[in-house]
């Protein structure tokens, strides 16, 4: 027994020794007296407690382990773009900038000297990041511009996780009617009829404010199942297509108009948030972020369950967007103004998120602070300080105590592994994972989020501005019946064509081909 203990002790000592060697090799904390300014929006999860991210224990811990002092500039919520461009126009460029807000886009930002061109620097100063960049071909394609430059640092995540954007139902009503979660359009209608019949105080269904619901558009083979991106460009076979210009749009609008006329859809869908309508018990079915709605509804006492994506007939194949998890919207840019040693330090700081120690720090927090031991897979188990913090509820604790929503790129574990919320409430995670194994759903329609070059992206934005204004207006009018779907071809399709939507699709297609050829 003693011998075994000694062996374990020695093994542990050895492991510790190796870890400390690794840490020494990594060279963190960085030596010297460095201050780095980070521009990023203030997360809503921490804003109830602090006005600046630097005040959170998470960032203080990060400063301690990396050895740099971090200062944060937060824009006013809702005015991020405006604030950012005012800052740039005033001549100040923060050292690190989270997400691209520069008027004119990423590549133009580099041309104008706002963002640094990191192409020749990553190999030397960000060796850990460069490792993924040079070994994962898809990641390299997604993380470089059309001409192969590295202008931003991206999160890396090597796993696909179940998606949370699903249609949610009042579980008690389904039970009352003896129904399963609807799947086909006919089943939806049967459910809505029952609701109208038996619960006149509840509206059966509501749409997002813009009238576009990807979880139903997909029944006609178009659209993206995600909030606010529903009618974006997607991939059909090997051709780019615009959701606004897709053939299925007519069928989708016809159904929604029908449902509006029958009283299935809330008359206030244009102004009321569907999630709020559901959570206040006014509406029996909406499409939304189940992952967030599930715990909230449990708290509010609204029975909730989620269903598969809608389809016209049982067994129809549904094509959705592939979720490029390892390259999500979290782009991080470095100031084009800093040079020399400071630039090296900034890159080294950014590289931390891809080092062994950094991956743990960014995904789980620092050892001894948010976790003390690891499970059989080597994943840290959160301690009481994180899971049952007396100051913050779990969702906020996650953002206050570990780096969760800041401008620091990193190698990311899946939410199922690294989120304290899921460790505390495994049923949350189970709820999100439901229907994730639907055999009729594939992700072949996703257009990779490649970066267009400056001129192309400007031209496309110019066209899509008009296209979207017109399309969004007409979509709402068709649903409410203010415009007649009989004139769909002339009032909608033809107008979008006149506005140049086909050119915008061509630009996207050319960008996609350039991406493939990289």
């Amino acid at each position: 027994m003693t011998r075994r203990l000694t062996a374990i002790f020695l093994a542990l000592l050895l492991a510790l020794g190796m870890m400390s060697i690794a840490a020494a090799e990594d060279g963190y904390p960085i030596e010297g007296d460095w201050e780095i300014t980070i521009w990023c929006p203030l997360s809503a999860l921490i804003s109830p407690y602090v006005t600046n991210a630097a005040e959170t224990p998470a960032i203080q811990e990060l400063c301690r382990v990396t050895g740099v002092k971090l200062n944060f500039i937060h824009p006013t919520t809702g005015q991020e773009k405006e604030n950012f461009n005012l800052l740039i126009a005033g001549g100040d460029i923060p050292d690190i900038m989270y997400t691209s807000q520069y008027a004119g886009g990423n590549t133009m930002g580099v041309d104008d000297g706002v963002y640094a061109d990191l192409t020749d620097l990553v190999e030397q100063y960000m060796p850990h990041y460069y490792h993924y960049l040079s070994n994962d071909d898809e990641f390299r394609k997604l993380s470089t511009t059309e001409d192969g430059r590295v202008i931003a640092i991206y999160n890396y995540k090597d796993m696909v996780e179940p998606f949370w954007w699903r249609t949610q139902f009042r579980a008690d009503l389904l039970e009352e009617f003896g129904m399963d979660e609807p799947c086909t359009i006919a089943e939806y209608e049967a459910f809505f009829d029952k609701v109208l019949e038996t619960h006149p105080e509840i509206t059966p269904f509501s749409l997002p404010n813009d009238g576009l619901n990807g979880a139903f558009m997909c029944a006609w083979d178009f659209g993206i199942i995600q909030q606010s991106r529903t009618a974006d460009f997607y991939l059909e076979g090997d051709h780019a297509q615009s959701g606004y210009y897709a053939e299925g749009m007519y069928d989708y609008l016809k159904l929604m108009h029908d449902w509006y006329e029958k009283g299935y859809i809330s008359k206030d869908f244009m102004s009321e948030d569907p999630t709020t309508l559901f959570q206040t018990g006014k509406v029996a079915c909406v499409t939304g972020n189940g992952y967030e709605m599930y715990p909230t509804c449990n708290e509010l006492g609204i029975p909730i369950t989620c269903g598969p994506y809608a389809r016209v007939n049982e067994g129809d194949k549904i094509h959705t967007l592939r979720h490029y998890w390892h390259n999500n919207a979290a782009e991080t840019f470095v100031s084009g103004k800093v040079k020399g040693e400071k630039l090296e330090v900034i890159l080294k700081f950014l590289d931390y998120g891809y080092t062994e120690e950094g991956i743990l720090t960014y995904n789980f927090g620092t050892e001894g602070f948010t976790w003390d031991e690891v499970d059989e897979n080597g994943y840290p188990i959160y301690n009481d300080f994180m899971l049952n913090n007396e100051n913050y509820p779990i969702a906020n604790a996650e953002a206050m105590l570990k780096v969760h929503a800041y401008a620091v790129p990193r190698w990311r574990y899946g939410d199922g592994i690294c989120m304290a919320t899921n460790q505390k409430n495994p049923d949350n995670w189970a709820y999100r994972a439901r229907w994730g194994d639907d055999p009729d759903v594939d992700d072949s329609y996703g257009l990779p989020p490649f970066v267009l070059d400056a001129d192309a992206s400007e031209r496309r934005a110019e066209i899509m501005n008009n296209v979207e204004t017109h399309a969004k207006e007409m979509v709402l009018k068709y649903i409410t019946g203010a415009a007649d779907l009989a004139n769909f071809d002339t009032e909608y399709t033809q107008v979008l064509k006149d506005f140049g939507v086909e050119e915008a699709i061509e630009i996207t297609q050319a960008g996609y081909e350039a991406y493939l050829a990289k």
């Binding site: 005015q79 773009k81 405006e82 461009n85 005012l86 740039i88 126009a89 460029i93 520069y102 008027a103 004119g104 133009m108 930002g109 104008d112 000297g113 706002v114 404010n209 813009d210 809330s266 008359k267 206030d268 244009m270 102004s271 009321e272 934005a461 501005n465 008009n466 204004t469 017109h470 969004k472 207006e473 979509v475 709402l476 009018k477 409410t480 203010a482 506005f499």
Partner: protein, 319 residues
């Protein structure tokens, strides 16, 4: 005798002096007045004249990091793009129509309120009415628009009232037919009382003898209003009207942004909301500035015309 001759000499001198010499002389005579004027001057220089140079970006392809001086010059491209684009006609018409209704209904209302209050004899009652009519003005516009959204929802107060008369329940604010009515009515409710202050103040300064004289001459209430109250108000009304017309193109952006939605763009999208969307949300700074500059030019023309017409018709004008 000697003093007056000196004064004559002085005025002869003044005529011969240039503008700046006269200004200098005036400044030496009344230094404290000019000292008082300095903050006002600075305000206009810094906040009104300074930014005018920024309007140059309307002729450029502005990029923040390059600044005004180094961005690419594109001439009238942005103006052409707006005027030949699909939304120029609609936003201009909407701006004019919204203002037409606003002026037709919203402008006379405070005058009417002031005249009515002027006729009220019971001081306490008058004060109460006056104060309650001011109150909505002090509620933040965001709050007011939030209330309007709730009231016009399909389960809101207005829908309840309409439903009790047998109308179907609709969301009124997202129906293009009602949008302008809701807009005008809500701003009437909010601004009427406040707007009447100026007129009431003018009326308190009207010589009571005029009313007495009119009454002795046999004038009734309406005659008194017509021949005494209105003429007393006329100069103020004219000035207010000219100023209001000068505001047409820039009026109402905030209320529009808070109330409209894509469903009512047809009737609701005005030039300023269009500029907001394209300029601040989509970051087309140059395009938005071009539209706004175009807007200001029209504004100037309107103001100038209104002033001229008023000068001709009533003899009252701003300059």
């Amino acid at each position: 005798m000697r003093r007056s001759s000196k004064r004559v000499n002085e005025s002869v001198d003044i005529v011969r002096l240039t503008y700046f010499q006269r200004l200098w002389r005036n400044m030496r005579h009344y230094p404290s007045l000019y000292l008082l004027f300095i903050p006002v001057l600075l305000y206009f220089l810094i906040f009104k004249y300074g930014p005018m140079f920024g309007a140059v970006i309307a002729f450029e392809k502005y990029r923040p990091a390059r600044g005004i001086l180094h961005s690419q010059w594109v001439g009238l491209k942005n103006f052409r793009e707006f005027l030949t684009g699909p939304y120029a006609k609609r936003t201009i018409i909407n701006t004019l129509m919204l203002n037409f209704w606003q002026i037709l209904i919203g402008f006379p209302a405070p005058i009417l309120l002031a005249i009515l209050l002027n006729e009220v004899q019971h001081t306490r009652y008058k004060k109460v009415v006056q104060t309650t009519s001011y109150l909505p003005y002090f509620i933040s516009l965001v709050v007011v628009c939030g209330i309007i959204k709730d009231f016009t929802a399909s389960d809101g107060l207005f829908s309840d009232i309409l439903a009790s008369f047998g109308f179907p329940r609709e969301n009124l604010l997202t129906d293009p037919r009602y949008y302008r009515a809701i807009y005008v009515a809500s701003s009437l409710w909010q601004a009427c009382g406040w707007g009447s202050i100026l007129y009431i103040a003018t009326l308190t300064n009207t010589d009571p003898q005029l009313y007495e004289a009119a009454t002795i001459d046999g004038a009734g209430r309406f005659r008194c209003i017509w021949h005494v109250t209105l003429p007393a108000l006329l100069p103020v009304i004219i000035v207010q009207l000219i100023m209001r017309i000068g505001n047409i193109m820039s009026y109402g952006a905030d209320r529009t942004l808070l109330l409209y939605s894509p469903a009512v763009y047809d009737k609701a999208d005005i030039i300023s909301s269009f500029v907001y969307r394209y300029g601040l949300q989509d970051l087309n700074f140059s395009f938005a500035s071009a539209v706004d500059l175009f807007n200001s030019v029209i504004n100037l023309i309107l103001l100038y015309t209104a002033n001229k017409v008023s000068g001709k018709l009533t003899g009252e004008s701003l300059w």
